[in-house]
Symmetry: C2
Subunit: 151 residues, 2 copies
């Protein structure tokens, strides 16, 4: 069994984010939650994954503050998994992965799911990285530095 | 050993993206490449991971078209791993994970690495999701549909 390196005490926000999510395909649970899934059985049907694995991934996501567990909205005995505000802040991550996939992994005309704006029913604009002053930047325009800002 | 579900034939671009990257922490290799790392030994020192694991992850990333393997830029016998244009298109994914981490996993004033614009030396603007007409949208403004567009 390969031991995964933990990055929890890293000074890199990318690594801490990845550690909190815990597992690659846990992001698909988050994607399903954005699509309206709330119940264990809904996630299980969507992802086709063993119950014990899904339960473990959900526990990590709840512990990481990505989901809250709440009583079912219909008054039944079910529990529901609802994205916290922190979980909802993963929206750009999911959109970025989706857009990368749309561009690079589908042939022209090949059917795929698409995330559209409800109002216009059109695809979203491609995500672009901008400097604080609004200039679009690409990777070469940026550099990683160690910051120790006053609070 | 848990068998990972493969999503390669899925109609979901998020799933195809994740399948191409192959493993959660392979994104840290991509992050390191954006930071200027090119050689196996550089990635290994940065990530502190076993050589066989790193080699396997790099193979998946090369097979997935994220990295090219090229002769060393200094004429030595080393190989270097260089992001392809497709790999460079992962920039918004890395930035989105970084910004999520910066907001949610560091106390005020806690030191962390930061991705800044070279020109202004200031933090990048937060990534925002926009509709095609430029309106900012949040998750509730969007819906996933199955699209089968003419090429």
């Amino acid at each position: 069994m390969v031991k995964r390196t933990r990055f929890d005490d890293s000074e890199c926000p990318v690594a801490r984010s990845m550690d909190a999510i815990g597992d690659w395909w846990s992001l698909l649970i988050v994607r399903d939650a954005f699509d309206g899934n709330r119940r264990f059985g809904e996630f299980q049907r969507s992802l086709g994954v063993a119950k014990n694995i899904l339960a473990a991934r959900l526990r990590t996501l709840v512990a990481g503050g990505v989901f809250d567990v709440v009583p079912a909205s219909d008054g039944s005995a079910y529990q529901e998994y609802v994205l916290t505000p922190k979980g909802r802040d993963l929206f750009p991550v999911i959109v970025a992965l989706r857009q990368w996939g749309e561009v690079h992994f589908f042939a022209a005309g090949e059917p795929h799911s698409e995330l559209v704006d409800r109002l216009s029913e059109r695809s979203l604009a491609p995500l672009r990285v901008h400097a604080a002053d609004g200039r679009a930047v690409d990777p070469d325009d940026t550099v990683v530095v160690k910051i120790n800002r006053a609070p």
